[in-house]
């Protein structure tokens, strides 16, 4: 799939999503539910001083990023001590090719995969399928999306949020499900289908929430337990990680794990927190006999060099999505990339360039809610503001409303134009009126009136009204 999820224009994509009423309601429901749980569980964390934990976690992540060369070296040496192998990949292609070649060379027929954003980013699934390998996504949401012809994810933690249970039933029907659209029944069907896959797969592929330099451990966090099954039965296992996933010690990981679960799903802990240290003990009946870690750069070193370096501290909890007023309205697919919400606004243009994603920084009102919640202590809104500055001042790229904004700038900076414009506006908009409201706007008004009516413009200008008010005019 890669970072970009479709080839439609940004505006077309947005228009389509704004008309998807189920998806929009699902985003609102998800935000409300996860935020209520999150707030609750964070208020019970220690003495409820979240800011202290947030600061500590930010320091831990920043320390690891500032010493990335040292800790990645230490980590790779420890993976080897644990009987594993490490491949450093400079880009998506190298990473995906390494894993695909490994599968082909070992004669792998079936892979079980646990949810991992970085394997989406490197487009691994399609390379494996092209090489003739049967790929089974095992996270329930990813399994649904795979059966739905690789429908792209719309949320980092709940990727199938945009599909309702009836749509999911229809997707499962293609694989033989003949039951109703009851979540328990649908999940039971997935359980029955997937259990056998875990124990018959030749290879397990999973991501990495945190890599621990001092031991070479890969940390994996999940509620479903599918990751644990991917780390149990297959004899060949591959963990794929963005190079920034590193932390120095188990004790540092404690803080990150403690905040990740609370922020991602509003729970004290996910059901499963797993550490994998290379190959299994000699003679063991299960666990990896051959283990590889693929460490991916794919544009991250450019970010490290830039003023956006702080975003590498991200732990992919999705708290910023769940609080964002824009995400709430437009949903994950409107960001046109696997990373959505405020994190996507910052990260996607850095990894995939401004050309296809120049509109993203404008998907932000700079309210700062994301910064307030971020457990990695990233000043997200400042980074988004910086993107806007780079676009306007350095790249001179005008986003989709650039022309409107420069037009407005011209009018506002010339008093005679402003006066003329505000005086004639009620008359110019008169043909668009119905029942005293503007119902079908054109041009810049259309975006507004497509969703709601606009009040009629008053014939008397505010400034004139305000002056006359003091003189006993109409109050």
């Amino acid at each position: 799939m890669g970072i970009k999820i479709n080839d439609q224009s940004f505006k077309k994509n947005l228009e389509k999503n704004l008309n998807d009423d189920f998806m929009r309601a699902a985003m609102v429901k998800a935000q409300d539910l996860i935020n209520t749980n999150r707030t609750n569980v964070l208020s019970q964390l220690g003495d409820g001083n979240y800011r202290e934990w947030q600061k500590l976690s930010g320091e831990i992540r920043a320390h690891a990023i500032d010493n990335l060369d040292f800790y990645l070296t230490q980590f790779s040496e420890n993976v080897v001590k644990n009987g594993g192998n490490v491949f450093f990949a400079k880009d998506a292609k190298e990473a995906s090719q390494y894993i695909t070649n490994l599968a082909v060379e070992r004669g792998v027929k079936k892979v079980v995969k646990a949810k991992s954003m970085v394997t989406e980013e490197i487009g691994l699934n399609h390379d494996l399928i092209d090489a003739g390998v049967d790929v089974k996504e095992t996270d329930l949401a990813e399994y649904i999306l795979q059966l739905d012809d690789w429908n792209p994810p719309s949320h980092m933690v709940v990727p199938s949020l945009h599909l309702n249970k009836t749509q999911i039933r229809d997707v499962f029907a293609k694989s033989g499900y003949d039951g109703k659209d009851i979540p328990e029944d649908l999940a039971a069907f997935a359980r029955a289908q997937l259990r056998n896959e875990f124990v018959t797969a030749d290879m397990g592929i999973y991501g990495c929430n945190f890599a621990i330099a001092e031991s070479g451990a890969i940390t994996l966090i999940s509620n479903e337990g599918n990751i644990d099954l991917c780390t149990s039965a297959p004899e060949l296992q591959v963990a794929v990680m963005g190079m920034e996933r590193i932390v120095a010690t188990y004790e540092d990981a404690d803080i990150c794990i403690s905040l990740l679960a609370r922020n991602a799903v509003g729970a004290k802990s996910t059901s499963y927190t797993t550490f994998v240290n290379g190959i299994t003990e000699e003679g063991a009946a299960d666990g990896a006999k051959e283990f590889h870690v693929v460490i991916v750069d794919n544009g991250r070193s450019k970010v490290l060099k830039s003023q956006f370096k702080e975003v590498l501290q991200c732990m992919r909890c999705a708290a910023c999505l769940n609080i964002c007023p824009i995400y709430r309205q437009v949903g994950g697919h409107s960001y046109n990339a696997i990373y959505s919400g405020p994190l996507g606004v910052v990260l996607t243009p850095l990894l995939a360039g401004y050309d296809d994603f120049k509109e993203l920084p404008y998907m932000c009102s700079l309210c700062g809610a994301c910064t307030e919640v971020c457990p990695s202590d990233i000043k997200l809104h400042s980074l988004i503001h910086e993107h806007k500055r780079v676009l306007a001042e350095e790249k001179k790229i005008s986003a989709f409303w650039g022309a409107s904004m420069s037009g407005a700038g011209m009018v506002f900076s010339r008093p005679w134009m402003y006066k003329l414009g505000t005086s004639v506006a009620p008359y110019v908009t008169a043909p668009l009126m119905e029942d005293g409201k503007i119902k079908k706007g054109v041009g810049i008004l259309k975006g507004w009136t497509d969703k709601r009516d606009m009040p009629a413009l008053e014939k008397i200008r505010f400034r004139d009204w305000y002056v006359s008010r003091g003189k006993g005019g109409n109050k």
Binding site: D69, T73, A285, A288, L304
Partner: protein, 236 residues
């Protein structure tokens, strides 16, 4: 099968060092961070108080799971009887257990006499036995009061698949294994790692397998065990 291979590291790491504007340091001193809120949780609690907290938090998980999780506080003298009850609570069916002498020490040999005991020499056959097991039973190595988590540290005889495939699970939590939270669990792993001991897998588990991927409705047993019962044993 390859082992111990590192590819492309030199160019990758030297690029990072360049970007960071220095040579790669030979040593990095782990800094003292500005605060340690994690050490304040259940500070100074006795083992008995931690056991109470563990049980209390397990019951919170029980309420959130619609009864799929349960917890009992018992004494060692009642363990065999309680385990026997729990292993038939959701119908009769095959049981899988670790090859672990602690079961005999706890007086459970009789209760587990019909269980399939994990035998690494039998290879993949173990996995099929776990796949069809109605019950699994284990003993927590480290237990976390804050989240009511038990821990399985991988070792021969413990069979990873036996921890994740059975339909129902019973976990014995000796009070002496309970620590306040993940912080102390991580301190233990840190100490082990310093001594060169890195178990191949360490699993902290605090619930049954669940998912909210279908319209945010919580469903249980999507892959792993559907039900989980903790038996907190106060005099162990």
């Amino acid at each position: 099968m390859v082992k111990g291979q590192i590819l492309n590291r030199e160019s990758f790491i030297s690029n990072l060092s360049n970007i960071l504007g220095r040579e790669m340091p030979k040593e990095v001193v782990h800094p003292e961070f500005s605060c340690k809120p994690q050490l304040e949780i259940y500070k100074g609690f006795t083992q008995a108080q931690l056991a109470e907290e563990f049980h209390k938090n397990a019951l919170v998980n029980k309420a959130g799971s619609g009864g799929k999780i349960d917890s009992l506080i018992i004494e060692k003298k009642d363990l065999a009887k309680t385990v026997a009850e729990k292993l038939v609570e959701h119908g009769n069916g095959p049981i899988v257990a670790w090859n672990d002498e602690r079961f005999a020490e706890l007086g459970l040999s009789d209760v587990l006499k019909d269980a399939y005991v994990w035998n690494d020499e039998k290879g993949r056959e173990n996995i099929n036995m776990a796949l069809n097991a109605h019950y699994g039973v284990c003993i927590s190595d480290i237990s976390l009061a804050e989240t009511a988590s038990y821990t399985v540290i991988d070792k021969l005889g413990k069979g990873r698949s036996s921890n994740f495939l059975p339909l129902n699970y019973v976990c014995i939590v000796p009070q002496s294994t309970i620590v306040p939270r993940l912080t102390q669990g991580m301190q233990k792993l840190h100490e082990m790692s310093k001594e060169g001991i890195n178990p191949a897998a360490i699993n902290f588990i605090c619930g049954s397998s669940s998912s909210s991927d279908i319209e945010l409705n919580k469903v249980w047993g999507v892959h792993g065990p559907v039900r989980l019962t903790y038996l907190v044993v106060t005099d162990l």
